[in-house]
């Protein structure tokens, strides 16, 4: 039977493209009548440009990227919406052996605790400043990325000014481990397997993880050209159902070996399957032979991981404001809010009779433990979603949150 819909999708070789990749390769898209063509790209800028001129309909994107585009912060953009998230968590902060030794001398323990690691890094940075040394240089994957914002959030909450006390540069994820080994950077925040890549080579140490800085926090999303979504509503719904089934398959522990093998293929990550296991199991070799198990390290499906919360979009927006990328205004906040589209997610998945959150936004940081919530249909468990510093983000009180964040550094 000929497929009903054709969708061109782009991805970057990162593990969190797995839900998109498996939707095609395990056959979920085909079963939903979607012929899904995958294009591997070399930069987020290429994905942005080629989605803008119509080469791609949908793409694996950094959660803040479509918001930045819609706000006009990027050199080229098209209006892009987010009807589906590709997972929660998955990133680490990795530092060079020299920086780790310095942090350990200042009391850091290999337990991934953000508060302890941040305090030690702060003492190391002040010691270096006292000796007149160059600021440490950290890399992130993109100026509008979860990586940049969680790294900055973590540092700022530990009394380190990410704009003054360190340098932040951009390095493509596959080059992070090389740049660290060559001494061009002192640390980085990136997704897996690029952290394990440094640990395996013996050139880096994982200091902390996204899943501890902000539990069950947003990362990559499925960005969709708005004009395409409007003209191809049925194709989008069918694709989202395929993505939902794919995400459930990716989450199933029984499928880990097959998923690791799939992502290891040269057209996807081109790295051995055992390198894909830490992100799936949450069992990380943090360096020096120390193994740590991280709760909810990366969730492709559980905890409503695919639901495009407007509070996630708005949190990214507050960080753009906080770090001077955009000025806060009600109009700009509305652009961020309107970018994420839980209505499209619900409409597509309703026929499947699966658990759907009833709200479009939540107070981030309010759930201290995993909590069953009221939802349409079957039962749903959310959270915990706490920030390591105990802060909360109420998406209805953006100005208050921005105010607290602007003074938190100065008060230190």
């Amino acid at each position: 039977m000929a497929p009903e819909h054709h969708v061109n999708a782009a991805f970057l070789p990162l593990f969190d493209s797995a839900v998109l990749v498996a939707a095609r390769e395990i056959g979920f898209a085909e079963r939903e009548g979607v012929e899904l063509t995958l294009h591997c790209e070399t930069s987020w800028a290429n994905i942005r440009d080629r989605i803008a001129i119509g080469h791609f309909d949908v793409a694996h994107m950094l959660g803040p990227m479509p918001i930045a585009g819609n706000l006009g912060l990027t050199p080229l953009s098209s209006e892009t919406i987010v009807p589906f998230a590709l997972g929660l968590g998955g990133n680490c902060v990795t530092v060079s052996n020299a920086v780790w030794a310095g942090m350990a001398a200042h009391g850091a323990k290999p337990d991934l605790d953000p508060a302890g690691a941040g305090a030690a890094l702060g003492r190391l940075i002040r010691e270096r400043q006292g000796s007149g040394l160059e600021p440490l240089r950290f890399a992130v994957t993109h100026p509008h990325s979860g990586h940049k914002y969680e790294l900055s959030y973590w540092l700022a909450a530990c009394g380190i000014d990410p704009q003054r006390d360190i340098d932040i540069v951009v390095v493509p994820p596959p080059f992070m481990a090389d740049a660290l080994a060559a001494g061009r950077i002192d640390g980085y925040c990136a997704g897996e397997p690029w952290n394990s890549a440094s640990v395996v080579r013996g050139t880096g140490h994982i200091a902390t993880v996204k899943a501890a800085i902000w539990k069950n926090s947003p990362e990559k999303v499925l960005g969709v050209r708005k004009a395409w979504a409007e003209q191809n509503a049925d194709a989008l719904s069918a694709l989202l159902r395929a993505m939902h089934l794919s995400a459930r398959w990716c989450q199933d522990a029984g499928n880990r070996p097959e998923l690791a093998k799939l992502m290891a293929r040269p057209e996807f990550l081109g790295l051995p399957p055992d390198m894909q296991m830490p992100i799936l199991s949450g069992e990380l070799n943090v360096g020096g032979g120390v193994l740590r198990r991280v709760e909810d390290f990366f969730l492709p499906f559980d905890k409503a991981a695919n639901f495009p919360w407007k509070s996630h979009a708005l949190w990214f927006y507050t960080q753009m404001v906080r770090w001077g990328q955009v000025a806060h205004s009600p109009a700009n906040a509305a652009i961020a809010r309107d970018c994420y589209r839980p209505d499209l997610y619900r409409a597509a998945l309703k026929p499947l009779g699966v658990a759907l959150p009833g709200a479009n936004a939540k107070v981030e940081g309010a759930l201290g433990t995993a909590t069953p919530v009221g939802s349409a249909g079957a039962s749903l468990v959310l959270g915990p979603d706490g920030f390591f510093d105990g802060e909360m983000f109420d998406p209805d009180r953006i100005a208050d949150y921005l105010e607290r964040q602007s003074t938190s550094l100065a008060a230190d």
């Binding site: 930069s43 050199p75 993109h142 951009v170």
Partner: protein
């Protein structure tokens, strides 16, 4: 209108393509063309060179890094925007299709930059066409070699003349609705499996 000539930086890891673009720009009268093949330490190089226009290939994974750098006034003194004109949709499409992207110093007049981008696009397209033709020529040469080897196998093992051997390959290809070169490949593989064959020896 002989204004001060623009300085153009071409960032391309493919040295041949970079040279093709450089030649095109020089032919068009641009004297100040610089090439960078390796992006290590590029921030310092750009700060030092202060180009008016930057041309970069889309395969380069460092575009995100460069764009971030352009937005930071600390590393680049003059703000750099992408493409000649955001509203010039056709130019943007032509550039992306060709696999090239351009960044220009803000405030530069469009009519001064547009010919540079057009030149880069046409040279990128010419290079791709050349590469494709070379690939096709290589493939053709390879299949001709394979057909010759298959003919030799048939001539030796079945005592056929060269014409008869070729006719047999051709007939088989037509019957199976496959290419002659594919039949030749299969025959060579089969001959290799069935035992040592002088005909498969390519040394001669």
């Amino acid at each position: 209108m002989v204004a001060a000539s623009l300085s153009i930086l071409v960032i391309d890891e493919n040295r041949i393509r970079a040279a093709v673009i450089e030649a095109g720009l020089r032919d068009a009268g641009h004297e100040r063309v610089m090439l960078i093949h390796d992006v290590t330490g590029i921030a310092a190089r750009i700060a030092e060179l202060e180009p008016d226009v930057i041309v970069i290939d889309l395969e380069n994974p460092n575009r995100d890094m460069l764009e971030n750098m352009f937005q930071l006034s600390r590393t680049v003194k003059r703000p750099i925007a992408m493409f000649v004109d955001r509203s010039d949709r056709a130019s943007i499409e032509a550039a992306v299709e060709a696999g090239v992207s351009a960044y220009v110093v803000d405030g530069l007049r469009q009519e001064r930059v547009k010919p540079i981008l057009d030149m880069a696009v046409s040279r990128f397209n010419a290079f791709s066409r050349m590469a494709r033709e070379l690939e096709e020529a290589r493939g053709e040469l390879q299949s001709r070699k394979q057909v010759d080897r298959a003919k030799r196998i048939l001539m030796q093992s079945r005592g056929l003349s060269e014409e008869a051997a070729y006719a047999l390959l051709r007939k088989t290809a037509m019957n199976q609705n496959r290419k002659i070169s594919e039949i030749a490949d299969s025959l060579i593989t089969a001959a290799g499996l069935l035992g040592p064959q002088e005909g498969t020896d390519d040394g001669a």
